[in-house]
């Protein structure tokens, strides 16, 4: 089959190796492109929307993720059995598992994402940071390599100063981090970090970097084809986090102007070109109070929060991922990327809005918001039982409006319309954020939510 837009080859069938809203999102993109979809599901997800919406569905294992959505053998076998040409991993699960990407490469299945080699390079935070630094992208002062022992840690600390952060090379998203304020605390923190990294990631490699006080978390969306073209699609402001879990994202950031956007975008593109990156990716930066930015890590997958970028740039990142994976050239050139209006995404989680305890169970009443400028990427319906086995993201409520003020007003009314009974959700928390003076003023940093709740 050929894609009508290009006359170039397109996949006949794609397996979606994920569940929840992102699996639904991928199915939507495929359907609109005329590509057949194959869902895989665990025994707990027989009634899930991705299982219902796909053209075909294969049960790959019991509820436990390790036996189903992380079961590489089952997933590759499903592709062979159902004759799927490509796999989209979504985010989470196998999306950043280089071993899975490699297995696909060996079986002649197209993994919709970068190569396994690129995933390994960026998956190791020491390698990633070193690579960025060598390409001239600003990084926070750091140990410049893995730190072997306490002694080396003390030497590094003299160069960097306190407070400093001890991090696991195999970590990411904030996992396996230790903040150290004094020389006295360094040794024990270092040893604890190494032990934790070893048990959590099976890799005890540790590095040290300067701690940046109250930064913003700003990330740049990039898209690269297999012909050497790379573009960026502006930034996302992701500072509103709870324990390194983002709960609200927006684009543009109130801290980024056109000039800074261009600088950060160019840094992200330089990194991608330097490593020969392909497909969608996100380059994460910290932005300090002086508007200096530092490379943190790169996520080699589509992000949960990709819709805010889609709404301000008018692109479809999922379709672009698929096109690029099929060998197409990028549709857009950098000079054609336009930013229009303001977009906010609220992650609607099944959890107590105060204690954050997950709240799985049956949805007994549901009114979803709609109307102009409202997009809902959801995996729920009235009568659906949210299983307790997976993450608690129910839906992403995304709005687009001309100005940030209008977007906040729109999000507020959409959140007020959103009614879910039977389980608890964090809708009240989002409503509280929408009415918060600091949020309205655009004064957010990664401690926003801890001061706020």
């Amino acid at each position: 089959m050929t894609d009508a837009h290009y006359g170039v080859r397109m996949f006949n069938k794609i397996l979606i190796a994920n569940r929840g809203e992102i699996a639904v999102r991928i199915i939507r993109a495929c359907k609109e492109m005329g590509i057949r979809t194959l869902a895989v599901y665990s025994q707990a997800d027989r009634e899930a929307l991705h299982t219902r919406f796909a053209d075909g569905a294969i049960c790959i294992g019991p509820a436990r993720s390790a036996d189903s959505y992380l079961n590489i053998t089952s997933i590759i076998s499903s592709m062979e059995v159902a004759d799927a040409e490509a796999v989209h991993p979504g985010y989470g699960f196998l999306a950043e598992n280089a071993g899975f990407a490699e297995a696909c490469e060996k079986c002649g299945i197209k993994f919709i994402g970068p190569t396994s080699a690129l995933m390994r390079l960026m998956g190791n935070k020491v390698q990633a940071k070193k690579t960025a630094e060598e390409l001239g992208i600003p990084v926070l002062p750091w140990s410049n390599k893995g730190v072997a022992d306490e002694k080396e840690a003390h030497e590094v600390s003299k160069k960097i100063g306190f407070p400093l952060l001890i991090k696991a090379a195999a970590g990411g998203g904030g996992r396996g981090m230790k903040l150290v304020h004094t020389q006295a605390a360094l040794s024990s923190a270092f040893n604890m970090a190494r032990m934790e990294a070893l048990s959590a990631f099976g890799d005890g490699e540790i590095f040290i970097e300067r701690f940046c006080e109250l930064p913003r978390h700003i990330e740049i969306q990039v898209m690269a084809d297999e012909h050497g073209n790379v573009i960026h699609l502006g930034e996302r402001e992701c500072s509103i986090q709870r324990r390194h879990q983002k709960i609200l994202e927006e684009s543009p950031s109130t801290a980024v102007d056109a000039k800074l956007r261009q600088k950060m975008g160019e840094a992200a593109v330089k990194l991608c070109k330097g490593i020969g990156y392909t497909n969608a990716g996100t380059v994460e930066f910290l932005l300090d109070k002086n508007k200096s930015f530092y490379f943190m890590e790169m996520n080699t997958r589509i992000q949960v929060e990709h819709p805010v970028t889609e709404l301000v740039t008018g692109t479809d990142l999922l379709k672009e991922q698929i096109r690029v994976a099929a060998g197409h050239k990028l549709e857009l050139r950098q000079k054609d990327v336009r930013f229009k209006g303001h977009s906010i995404e609220c992650r609607i989680n099944a959890e107590d809005p105060k204690t954050f305890v997950p709240s799985p169970g049956k949805i007994t009443e549901l009114i979803t918001p709609g109307g102009p400028g409202v997009r809902l990427d959801s995996a729920i319906y009235c009568g659906y039982t949210v299983p307790p086995y997976y993450d608690n993201l129910l839906a992403k409520l995304i709005v687009h409006a001309e100005t940030r003020e209008d977007a906040i007003a729109r999000m507020t009314r959409a959140l007020e319309e959103f009614h879910i009974a039977g389980i608890k959700t964090n809708i009240p928390l989002h409503l509280k954020i929408m009415k918060d003076h600091d949020f309205i003023a655009g004064n957010t940093d990664i401690d926003f939510l801890s001061r706020f709740t």
Binding site: I58, C59, P62, S74, I75, S77, V81
Partner: protein
């Protein structure tokens, strides 16, 4: 498309290695997909045949399963083979007596051959999947009437 047509179509499909069939006619759409059994229907002795909404139809091809008939399900996604090689004879035949731990079939997944052993001693009363057909996790393969 009425129920008799669907039953007839299903009968035809059971004897082939067709996994999925989509029919679009003026009157509507029918999709039949084989090999997916809901857990609560596992005991129903049949693979479901479903036409998607608006007209959901479930054809039950056989009567309810007696209590002493056990179901052997597939432990993985893959391709079902009744013998070790195309030339070899099947591990088990309809009506054959099997011991606990005896190899019943092979599931091929990622070029690896995985033997499926019987957890029951008894007689094979149904072979639910055709040789060479794909199976999903938990899909019923055999019915074994347990020895008393």
């Amino acid at each position: 498309m009425d129920i008799k047509d669907i039953k007839a179509l299903y009968k035809f499909l059971r004897d082939t290695d067709i996994v999925e069939i989509d029919i679009e006619e003026e009157k509507g759409k029918l999709r039949i997909k084989r090999g997916c059994v809901l857990p609560r229907e596992e005991a129903a002795y049949a693979a479901p045949v479903t036409a998607p909404s608006p007209a959901k139809t479930v054809v039950e091809a056989a009567p309810a399963k007696p209590d002493n008939v056990m179901v052997v399900t597939s432990p993985m996604v893959g391709t079902f083979y009744r013998s070790a090689s195309p030339e070899a004879s099947p591990f088990v035949e309809m009506g054959g007596i099997v011991k606990n731990g005896q190899t019943l079939c092979i599931i091929e997944a990622m070029k690896l051959m995985n033997e499926v052993e019987s957890e029951y001693a008894g007689r094979i009363v149904s072979i639910l999947v055709e040789n060479g057909q794909p199976v999903e996790y938990g899909e019923p393969l055999f019915h074994v009437e347990a020895s008393k």
